[in-house]
Symmetry: C2
Subunit: 465 residues, 2 copies
């Protein structure tokens, strides 16, 4: 279905549609047991798309489809599969087939797979890997999760300073098939200390009589094996590197992290951040793959209870001042409106500050100026919203006192929300707590409790109760 001489996507088809078409055609061919046709169908398809197609097949057909692939393609496709499909295939295959694939995977993908497998299976596989691969894997698994050490790969090219450019290029050619990338080359001394870096571009454009030492850059941006992976992603993003070297505590080169792995890290970290803003404990990126409803409820109930507990204060405040509401029942009508408006303003302020902290656009040093700015904006917004709400309250209840009480309260609540919405993330960042997860419940609670108190106090004053 793809023209051999044109780009693989016709002008009007999306990748999802492509995968859907391949999947249904593949199913038909497998039903007809036309394995040759199925194999031919998959030849021009990208490994990433093959993996997506296989994931969507019925479980019984996945192993059959996978076996259609050539050895090299099978390994590539395997690395792109979802981990539950990877596990299912491991159980399907004969020992030897499994071992071949697992042995040939790149070490970082293998470590990621082993992280998901049951410990028994991991032990068995580890024992049967070739010695070099076993060593590479246990090295990676030895590092804490979410650190550079865990996501790096030891398959890099190291050069000696004394090599000529011609010799270096020859070494690159020889190792090209067994390394993660040949575009970034690292220079080490005899003790494996990292002394320099050069790109393949620099090597190719240098004179062949020059040495590696002439071409390389001695200022190398590095990360350590215990560097947090979020920091790694930030460095790759800021410096626009295609790969980063990872050193141990002795400054010896132990691995590299390539930008494509960083893209995955960024996606997972962003999901965690977004979940945190919404009050959901992250289960990795597995929310929609988790089938156990109790597990999902557990991811969510913790923060709901914390918020519920914090919000009980609002009911205590109101219960304590019930006589005001008894006197002017109309006041009750505006409680949701006021605390919702406060919550919305607080959410806006905290959202931009939390994101700004994450991207290093603002720092705790600048907290005061940011909070001042947010307060002024909050005042502005409070005046605009307050006027609108005064009009509405008068229309609803036909009482200027109630309307003014509501309007003034809204102004005060909006100001309060802006201040707390912008200040609390800084405070939590300073206390080394995650601003995203910690601030939202506190901000809502602060705004609600104080907001309700302000409202009833203002009402008391305005209505001279």
């Amino acid at each position: 279905m793809q023209n051999q001489n044109s780009p693989s996507l016709p002008a009007n088809i999306s990748r999802q549609e492509l995968q859907e078409i391949v999947r249904s055609q593949l199913l038909v061919l497998l039903e007809q047991e036309d394995l040759r046709g199925a194999k031919a169908l998959l030849v021009p398809v990208q490994p990433v798309d093959i993996a997506a197609v296989i994931t969507e097949l019925p479980a019984v057909k996945q192993a059959i489809a996978f076996r259609l692939l050539s050895k090299d393609e099978a390994i590539e496709v395997y690395e792109y599969l979802d981990s539950n499909v990877q596990q299912a295939l491991i159980e399907e295959f004969k020992q030897q087939d499994v071992l071949d694939i697992v042995d040939k995977m790149s070490p970082d993908d293998r470590a990621r797979l082993f992280d998901e497998l049951p410990a028994k299976v991991v032990r068995r596989l580890l024992n049967q890997l070739s010695p070099t691969e076993r060593q590479a894997t246990t090295l990676l698994l030895g590092y804490k999760p979410d650190t550079a050490g865990r996501i790096m790969t030891p398959e890099y090219i190291a050069l000696k300073e004394s090599l000529t450019v011609a010799q270096a290029l020859e070494r690159v050619r020889r190792l090209a098939d067994v390394t993660e990338t040949i575009y970034y080359l690292y220079v080490t001394d005899e003790f494996r200390h990292l002394t320099g870096v050069l790109t393949l571009r620099a090597l190719l454009t240098a004179g062949s009589e020059q040495t590696v030492a002439d071409v390389m850059k001695r200022e190398v941006v590095i990360v350590r094996t215990d560097t947090d992976r979020e920091e790694v992603a930030r460095i790759v993003q800021d410096y626009d590197f295609g790969a980063l070297p990872v050193v141990d505590t002795e400054q010896r080169l132990v691995g590299i992290i390539t930008v494509d792995d960083v893209l995955d890290v960024i996606e997972q970290e962003t999901t965690e951040d977004i979940y945190a803003l919404g009050g959901v404990e992250s289960g990795g990126d597995k929310y929609f793959q988790t089938t156990n409803l109790f597990q999902i409820a557990r991811m969510r109930v913790k923060w709901l209870f914390i918020l519920l507990f914090a919000n009980t204060a609002t009911s205590a405040v109101i219960a304590n001042q019930e006589e005001i509401i008894e006197r002017v029942v109309a006041l009750a009508a505006f409680i949701p409106l006021l605390i919702d408006a406060g919550g919305n303003v607080g959410a806006q302020s905290s959202t931009v500050v939390i994101r700004g902290l994450n991207l290093r656009e603002v720092s705790v040093k600048k907290a005061l100026s940011v909070i001042t700015r947010e307060s002024l904006v909050g005042l502005l917004l409070g005046v605009m919203l307050g006027l609108a709400v005064v009009v509405w309250a008068y229309f609803l209840e036909n009482s200027w006192e109630v309307a003014i009480a509501v309007g003034v309260s809204l102004l005060a609540i909006t100001l309060l929300a802006s201040v707390s919405g912008s200040a609390l993330p800084f405070l939590f960042s300073k206390l080394s707590l995650d601003p995203a997860l910690m601030s939202a419940p506190f901000i809502t609670s602060v705004v609600d409790v104080l907001g309700v108190s302000i409202y009833l106090w203002v009402a008391r004053v305005v209505l001279q109760l």
Copy 2:
């Protein structure tokens, strides 16, 4: 300050600290008018860090610091500066210096700069660029913002199928200094139609008598000039490519997009998504650089008014049923608690669904199963929270009827919130509206209005009013 023979970051210093140290030392040297010392200070520092340091200098010192750099480094650093610093420097410099830098920037960075400059300045600069650069720039600026055409660069290497591997490598060497990347090479025919792609790795490891046609892959993943940049980022992330070719409607190759530009796109798009979830219209990534408070208020007031308007319904509902509250004033105490709990549950559901839609982890096809799952989880959570709240309400008001009314309402509200929180994003996605921006206000309003109605109705039944 950096040891020439060791990696540039000592084991215990962060990049922020490094930049801070360089900045303060630089300021001291500039005050003393020691330009030679200042120049030497900057030699081993990465362009990205120099740009960050210059950005933090007082405005009057920025131009002086910038002039310390060599021509090549100046261009690199300039591309990394914030756009307001880029603009300030343009006004500072002599015509010719500005032109030299702007002329030598890579076309995609130049297009990005021109997007920010006043139109008058852009016209003047455009007219004075060299013809090739002017053509490259107007080409890019001719495309709609947020499309592949706008973020691509025309500086790629194209090869003919008939070249031998040796000839191809020679061409790569010759063009290495003027192209964005030499690691991905594109094969075109005499009409510039894209016919294949090959990596430099493949070229280097091929036999030198082979031709490009032997080595290249004919299945190429492409994007078109009008492809949305979010889609471009998704493709690069999924396929792990270092670069993507961009073709026009005739399938002719017009440019490439490299992964480092995609990283920037991802960051900006993520900020937009996060802002949308928080109810903030995005001003690009300029929230903290905007100094006009009225502009900021304008970014935020629109959604606040929409939400306020939607929330007026809650006050109408309560005002309409004031007699219930008159009869049992204790009921008013729990209004904030109930709608807050509903809002939190709704926010959780919508957050995970919106993020899932964004990452293509769920699609509208699966809407029914996702909503069902969320409803069941909502029921589970509602039971847990409801029991807790019944205990609290009884403790506060000493009335079983009120406690039961509150508990049953919480259960109903939680279920309602889960359903609307998961369903509305799918609905808006189906209507081609942005789920993130559209759903949150509707979900809060639906939960609040219906929640309050449910509460007063349940109270009426339980208390037999």
